[in-house]
Symmetry: C2
């Protein structure tokens, strides 16, 4: 069930990137037109609806969150030298690296321009929440880089990193929506925590599907993380049980998957995803019943059962 409301895709399409100089704005329009689930602006609207507020006032912040998210993708793709995003060449491939840097910078500024349209009595508060979130996302990205080079990474380290890199943006989207719509502190906090747990579950599910997804529906080759030597939740959990994992499996997908199954790591991941999803749903307990609350619960459940 999806609450009838503002069409985010349509609102994003109304943003005008035909401005001059074209070299600056065209890549922004390109990056934003790639689609995606638009989950962050949707969460901002649901944050407002879930506390009984109107979503119109939240729209500028919702759009700012989506533009910010796409800014992080644009710069992350440069840093990761990723060549494809959502089936199309990334901006630094289609144009060049300097364009990706400068248009990315402008996208971050555009996010703050959209925030400028937040109702004035809420502006200082929204700016504070947004800045805290943006800082944490950059810190999470830095930790991700650090962990690649760092020999000892614990599961706690990993959880901290995905919390910053993925969860806080979802959580802050919900909180900002509730804040603008005059939700109580308790409601804002509950929605924030729901977003945190949803993000953690989502990321571990990502790691899980990379190993155990159905090749027919997953969309990319199974075992990419293993081949790249990524320190995922599954890898770090297996490492706790088997210190010599690296020597035993190297980057061999079949061997690693066997260890994950035989050591119970696969099952542990399933349990952890289910636990975090249940926690997220529990967090919503303080909210009054509403169609928005139902949508949030279904979103968590859909996540648990997704195949790609």
């Amino acid at each position: 069930m999806r609450v009838e409301s503002l069409d985010i895709e349509h609102e994003i399409g109304k943003l005008d990137w035909s401005r001059e100089p074209k070299g600056l704005y065209e890549p922004i329009g390109y990056a934003l037109s790639a689609g995606g689930k638009r989950i962050r602006p949707r969460l901002a609207l649901l944050g407002a609806l879930a506390v009984g507020g109107a979503e119109e006032k939240v729209l500028p912040a919702a759009l700012a969150l989506e533009v910010f998210h796409n800014f992080t993708l644009l710069h992350d793709d440069v840093m990761d030298k990723a060549e494809v995003r959502r089936g199309r060449p990334t901006v630094h491939i289609k144009w060049n690296e300097n364009t990706a840097i400068l248009s990315g910078d402008q996208m971050l500024i555009e996010a703050y321009k959209l925030l400028g349209n937040v109702p004035e009595d809420k502006l200082a508060g929204v700016l504070r929440l947004f800045n805290k979130m943006a800082t944490e996302v950059c810190e999470g990205q830095q930790l991700d880089v650090d962990y690649e080079l760092q020999e000892h990474v614990t599961i706690a380290d990993y959880m901290k990193m995905i919390r910053l890199k993925t969860s806080v943006l979802l959580a802050t989207a919900l909180q900002i929506g509730a804040y603008i719509a005059d939700g109580t502190e308790a409601e804002q906090q509950a929605l924030y925590e729901y977003g945190i747990n949803l993000g953690l579950a989502f990321q571990i599910q990502d790691d899980y599907l990379d190993c155990f997804g159905d090749p027919a529906t997953f969309g990319k080759a199974i075992g990419g993380d293993i081949r790249e030597g990524k320190k995922t939740w599954l890898w770090l959990s297996a490492l706790q049980k088997e210190q010599h994992l690296q020597t035993l499996c190297g980057k061999d997908v079949a061997k690693t998957l066997r260890v994950y199954e035989e050591s119970g790591v696969k099952e542990a991941a399933e349990k952890e995803i289910a636990r975090l999803t249940a926690l997220a749903v529990d967090n919503l307990g303080v909210l009054k019943d509403s169609p928005a609350k139902v949508e949030l619960i279904q979103l968590a459940e859909k996540l648990l059962n997704r195949k790609s």
Copy 2:
């Protein structure tokens, strides 16, 4: 004469960059500790003082402007592959390119965090002015890139580019200072225009010194712009008089300088710098006399007579 007031260098030094993760924050501290004239925050404070206001309220915005300026230098240095800045290795040389991108992003966010400390009744207005400025600076940088590849660039094009890339940041610093200090619309506009003209004069003076500066005091080799084939004010002016300039001079410094002298372009540049400086001083006419106004006038005159 320098008005006794807040010590910007000291205030910048109080910003704490010892936070974790170090890989994100150390480069920011490094970039901000390089010194420089701190002209932009000084202009913000002078904007307040010149309209009879107190400078303390302007401090957060003044710091935001300096952090923003250094963010643009950091990313520009990546894009220009510049290896040295203020006598030290640039961030992407001392660390790496990805660090320069991500720490630069965080610097831009830090600028907005500082803006969050602007008095709440002025926040929406300051955010609007700051966002407009930041957008124009990126547009100016893009035009600079575009003009390198573009065959026909007029002096009007060039003036538009340096207005966006250099002047609007100086102008907006002054305007924001005056705005926070409750200056009238006319005062704000006068200070803004002063900043625009000051910036234009400064940039053309930069081009001029690159050709006719005293090698003993200029700090770098004379003729760098000519050797790089840059479309400066002098080059574009000479091109108006001599269509075959490229064929005649190529990138030969001595030949080009001779054309600049013989065609009157050198003298025209001197006149243009003096004209813009006089315009800047004229813009201050609507302000009441004050030590801050005297400092602004002296700043423009010092600029006119600078050797490096």
